[in-house]
């Protein structure tokens, strides 16, 4: 197993990926063999017995049945597919049976970002940070529609449902950063519901956990808010240049009057922004759908303070 991508496959970076790849290459060679057999024979036959002048009335064409041949090409493919079936099912069970000592991460999918809660209390958005060589159990659920958690380099994918928990697990074998995709179509920004899995060494992971607790330390609130704007995925729907997205742009919002859905107006002050983060449907801006999920529980008070400071600063630049 190595972590370089091949012609067919992305880097292989989990303990279960190797077996999936072996079956894949077995299937590939079986396919190449049968494809070459069928296409090769066809080309041979149509070349050898192409119609020539005076050939139209020939009655001495080939046989029309051969039971032995029919049985052979029923039985041999059946044996091959049974092998593939058993191999695939065993691999599937490896993906389904979660090691008892696995570290647990709660994964939440919502339109259109991922959030992760770690056993130590930290939380991240669109970035899953895990230690290498440690089994990780993912408990997946959705806040709205169906999503699917997909990390190609780990060869794992699991649908994320709104009405029940789903489970997946992996054990990363190499440190590095790997793509995370939403693989079940979930609406407007489905293709932007992507993230990263960052696999760290055990020591780096510990350091990261400690750092996560102290995030924003020594940073100006607006600067920290700018970082959160990216990492908590506000950027997916709220632009900074005035372009409307799924939500209104942050440019020049702060301190200005906002028209709401019911026609009334409010001033976008600190409390309005705080409320809109925690209870987005309370005062919906006119012209936008109520699609924003609540950030209740995903942001600490300090993080909300920083975001308010950041939005304030964007408003200032827009003047």
């Amino acid at each position: 197993m190595d972590t370089t991508a091949t012609f067919w496959m992305p880097p292989s970076a989990s303990t279960t990926a190797g077996d999936v790849d072996s079956l894949f290459y077995f299937l590939l060679w079986v396919s190449v063999f049968f494809f070459a057999l069928i296409v090769g024979l066809s080309i041979l036959f149509i070349t050898k017995w192409r119609r020539r002048k005076g050939d139209t009335g020939r009655l001495d064409t080939g046989p029309t049945k051969n039971t032995l041949l029919e049985v052979a090409w029923i039985v041999i493919p059946t044996i091959i597919v049974v092998i593939i079936f058993v191999w695939g099912f065993r691999g599937y069970m490896n993906l389904s049976v979660i090691p008892a000592n696995a570290m647990e991460v709660k994964v939440t999918g919502q339109q259109w970002f991922w959030s992760f809660q770690y056993p130590e209390g930290a939380s991240t958005v669109n970035e899953l940070v895990v230690p290498v060589d440690t089994p990780v159990k993912l408990t997946l659920s959705s806040q709205d529609v169906i999503h699917a958690f997909y990390v190609p380099s780990f060869r794992i994918k699991r649908d994320v449902l709104p009405n029940r928990y789903q489970f997946a697990w992996f054990e990363a074998t190499h440190t590095g950063e790997y793509d995370l995709f939403c693989a079940e179509y979930c609406g407007s920004k489905h293709s932007q519901m992507t993230g990263t899995v960052r696999v760290l060494s055990g020591a780096d992971y510990k350091a990261w956990l400690e750092g996560a607790a102290l995030a924003g330390e020594g940073m100006a609130p607006a600067e920290y808010g700018g970082r959160l704007y990216e990492s908590k995925a506000c950027v997916t729907c709220h632009s900074l240049d005035g372009t409307p997205g799924n939500g209104p742009s942050f440019l020049g919002v702060f301190g200005h009057e906002v028209t709401l859905e019911d026609g009334s107006t409010v001033i976008a002050d600190e409390n309005y922004i705080r409320e809109s983060i925690l209870n987005p449907k309370a005062k919906l801006v006119a012209g936008y759908q109520a699609v924003m999920p609540t950030y209740q529980g995903l942001l600490s008070d300090g993080e909300i303070d920083a975001l308010v400071a950041f939005i304030k600063s964007v408003g200032g630049e827009g003047e």
Partner: protein
Amino acid sequence: MSEQTRSAAAELPRSAVAVPERTDENGLPRPNFLRDGGGTLWSWLTTLDHKRIGILYMIMVMLFFFVGGLFALLVRLELFAPGEQFFGPDTYNRLFTLHGAVMIFLFIIPSIPAILGNFVLPLQIGAKDVAFPRLNLASWYIYMIGAIFALYSLVTNAADTGWTFYTPYSSSGSDTAVISITLGAFILGFSSIFTGLNFIVTVHKMRAPGMTWFKLPLMVWALYATAIIQVLATPVLGITLLLLVLERAFGVGIFDPAMGGDPVLFQHFFWFYSHPAVYIMILPGMGIISELITTFSHRNIFGYKFIAFSSLAIALVSFLVWGHHMFTSGQSEFAVMLFSFLTFMVAIPSAIKVFNWTTTLYKGSISFSVPMLYALSFLFMFTIGGLTGLFLGALSVDVHVHDTYFVVAHFHYVMVGGTVMAFIGGLHYWWPKMFGRMYNRTSAVAAWALVFVGFNMTFFAQFILGTQGMPRRYWTYPEQFQSLHGFSSSGSLVMGLGFLIMGVTLLAGALRGRVVGSNPWGSLTLEWTHATSPPEPHNYPNTPVVENGPYDFDKLVPRVDAPGEPGPEPEPAPAK
């Protein structure tokens, strides 16, 4: 046919060629169904003639093929590079939804059964029409009503749910015109059911004397197996879509967990129809391939009964594999195991067909007429489509490639490389029968070559995209996928050009092509040996009596009948 010509035909060496009673100024036989039987638009719109209904279907279905193809090209143009090229994500999501919905419900499901099946099935069994001609016309009108509902969604607030309408996004997440497109699909289902019902009764009750089950052309077997699925599976889709409409319009909680429903239940219902529907799409194509390979190999089919029964086997097992669309959705391991196993079992009958077709080429007398080129490219591409299905049936590999471009490539190889190639091949095959005229061979071959090259460029690249992890239904994508996406998009333009040339060639052929006789290919099935081109309104003046099998080239010498020039020019013998 008069008494005299009939006895003259009987003197031919057991391979009668239908001789028209008289011909018109162009040399086309009269009466024929195109000119006799009413020349007004009204006479066409109220026709009960299965051949005319087939042509009515053809006009609409080809129109939607064009529309669906345009959507596909727009999708590919947007995907040429990451980020916004021409459209934003919301427009893109509508485009791929409409591409899928139009191609599935308005094009590919009705394509072969409703156009070629309608035209050919009664002719091939020696009948004057289908069993229920009025029901046949009604199904065309129902198709039109369904199409209007779908179009209404398109022009008002086009749906963005994907053609699969997965809940709860379709029931509460999307704010687009989901209800009208869903009702459209619901109504179209009835059109499909009626056609299927008609065909089942027609095959059972209307066969000409001597046309025993094992003398049926394999096209008829395939259409019969298809009709069984249409009648048994389509109602489930109807009910499912109706439940979806109930939930969306009246808030009845069935699929949306917010109202106490279960979203995965929708997937079970949906695929319970839509997987058998895959076989509604491919089985008739397989029937056409059996016709083309025998005619242009000039040889009896290898393993007739195996091909016939494999159609029925596919029809039955296809009902038991729907769960393979949901290997990652959280079914029990036991269900997953069963569905995987049955999926592999349904692969076997398809493999049987491919092996039998290949063997039919052995010691044939193969001519490379345009329909045969399509049949050979079917063998090439359907084999790829079928083999890549094994990857998706293999559970652990499916977890990786599910909902990626691998799946997109796989089903396009089956649906376009398989069904559409067979359909287009069938159109080129029966075109002279429909219109009595032949299209230009050179431009037809050019169109075929462009489609073949363009298709493989477009979709082979997508297999690699998929195994590399590119999810489907993505408006934008990471940089590392750009070169393959660009290659795929370039191929789609080549393919689009090919289809355009094909359409023009066929149209020009129907209007101005050279007149051919009743049997330009030298086929042995009834529509070629006993009917004129175009056939007369009631197909056969006297009901044919069937003595031989449909492909008895080892017993009979069919007469190639194409006045002026011979149809398929035999290849000159190579200089030794």
